[in-house]
Amino acid sequence: MPSIILDFFRAVWRGPFGPTGLVILGLCVALAILGPAIAPYDPVARNYDAAGKLLRLAPPSWQHWLGTTLLGRDVLSQMLVGARPALLVGGLTALGTVVIGVNIGLISGYFGGRIDSFLMRLTDMFLGLPFLPFIIIVLSLTGRSLTTMVIAMTLVMWRSTARVVRAQVLSLREMPFVAAARITGASDLAIIYREIAPNIMPIALVSVAFALAWAIITEASIGFLGFGDPSVVSWGSIVYDAYASQMMYRAPWWVVPPGIAIMVLVSAVYFVGRAYEQVVNPRLRTG
């Protein structure tokens, strides 16, 4: 297992894009952890000027680098704090996707037969489900919290990883080294997890990288549509507040930063994912 992580970093650390992505990702993770601590103001506190007047829609200034919202809240503080839900929801969804997707892909691909048919039928049937609307419906029925968001998103996302893993398992199980393991007394479970799994992890990780990117955007979209966790400040919810206030077009400093943050973070994930994919799938090597 540790060798796979090492291989991952070695693979990504080449070319201009991979390392850039890793550095940005690292910074965002640091922000997710330290955000609330380094924010200059309480993100939901209203701010007043020296004369005691509410600082509504104040443009960027030395006191408030990114200005304030309609309710006088410091945009920079909201931005710093917003990194946490983006990475938390994204990261947990990616983790759930890997765990469920890889296991289902392994079991389905290895055993084949009825188990495989059943699982794949199930997957195919729900592949046509429009992701975002479905998640919104589920959230509206189960309540809006970060937890339900992660669960709903994982339920929708594991399928693509499972299919990718299963496809590779189908060809791997015919390899002689699997037969060699079988004739030394290895059980099916041992073959799946000790022989086959290490060989599909690279491709599973690629799938997960893209799942992470999608999860971050989706979490922001859900926040923008107003279905995020009401007690959490996220980049999507900042845009939602701006949109709902009907004043957004008068305060670009309120609307622009969250989008840029999301764009930078997701680009970083794509860079890392693509750099890794180049190594894992030699057919993609360009030039």
Partner: protein
């Protein structure tokens, strides 16, 4: 070919059936009064009782399920909590609006994306290619709603080139007048959301086309083409591009899914009265019959679009027809 068609059609029917079933159970079995999602709490108790009888909510679950399926087949989606009118009335116009926005922009996105991606592969290694890849990745990473808002900020407010959302200038046409679709006003309102969606959606086919062509270029039969004396351009577009079309076609169903899902976002930003916006509005108002119907219709669009895409795929690649 006929066998393939039948198989895909049957698959589509099964998917829709599964989705309807899922919706049924989601709405009925979640905690809380299951009838709250069917009968408007604002009705008088006597009216509620009457509706309970009509929808068979006092009957066993399985009977309710069959009733639900039957209603769906005759397009009876129940009554809106808010307007107490049949849901179907509200849906029709919205469906058309969504299709008019999403379908053309998806087609444009795929065509443009494929072409630009091919060009990027042709000009590989140059500054043009790198900046294209970079821009496409960045655009794809930005949230669609934010792109829409930026577009409005720039083109509608600062430059005053386009209206700020909606489908036609309010008040210009009486409600549900089909003639509005033929007006210049409609096109004027369609332009910005169309452009934004197209720009956003073309990134994926662009990058896919480029990477597929680049990997194809290294393959043997391309070398053969070069040795035959074909020009670089002929090799690229004649051979490499045609084979790159296949992964593009394969991913089209997936992209369609995203696009329809994205309709929720883009319709909200531009106040475009389509199914996506209807669903969001309905959920906010706890108007469950409308929300459910809107979602089902979005799902039908996605699945049907996937079906059409699979048909085209079957035409392109004779191999899978016999799989």
């Amino acid at each position: 070919m006929a066998g393939y068609l039948v198989r895909r059609f049957w698959h589509m029917v099964l998917t829709l059936f599964a989705m309807a079933t899922l919706m049924f159970f989601l709405f009925r079995l979640l905690p809380g009064d299951p009838t709250a999602t069917v009968i408007s709490p604002s009705l008088y108790p006597k009216a509620q009782e009457a509706m309970r009888q009509q929808f068979g909510l006092d009957r066993p679950l399985f009977e309710q399920y069959l009733l639900y399926l039957r209603n769906l087949c005759v397009l009876d989606f129940g009554f809106s909590f808010q307007t107490n009118r049949p849901v179907f009335e509200m849906i029709q116009g919205r469906l058309l609006n969504t299709i008019l926005l999403i379908l053309p922009s998806m087609l444009a996105a795929y065509l443009l994306g494929a072409v630009i991606g091919a060009i990027a592969a042709w000009k590989r290694g140059g500054a043009a290619e790198i900046s294209l890849v970079f821009t496409a990745t960045a655009l794809q990473s930005a949230p669609l709603f934010w792109l829409g808002m930026l577009a409005i900020l720039l083109f509608s407010i600062k430059l005053d080139l386009f209206p700020i959302g909606h489908i036609v200038t309010p008040g210009m046409f009486p409600e549900q007048d089909w003639r509005m679709y033929l007006s210049a006003d409609f096109l004027h309102h369609l332009a910005l959301p169309f452009l934004v969606n197209t720009l956003y959606q073309l990134c994926f086919p662009l990058l896919l086309m480029r990477s597929t062509m680049l990997s194809t270029i290294g393959e043997d039969y391309i070398e053969l083409g070069r040795m035959k004396g074909l020009s670089e351009r002929r090799v690229l577009f004649g051979h490499a591009a045609r084979n790159a079309l296949l992964p593009l076609a394969t991913t089209l169903p997936m992209i369609l899914g995203w696009a329809v899902a994205g309709s929720v976002v883009i319709e909200t930003v531009f106040s475009w009265p389509g199914l996506g916006l209807l669903m969001i509005e309905a959920i906010s108002r706890a108007d469950y019959p409308v929300a459910q119907a809107a979602f089902l219709l979005i799902a039908v669009l996605t699945v049907f679009g996937t079906f059409i895409a699979d048909l085209l795929y079957g035409l392109l690649d004779p191999r899978i027809v016999y799989a």
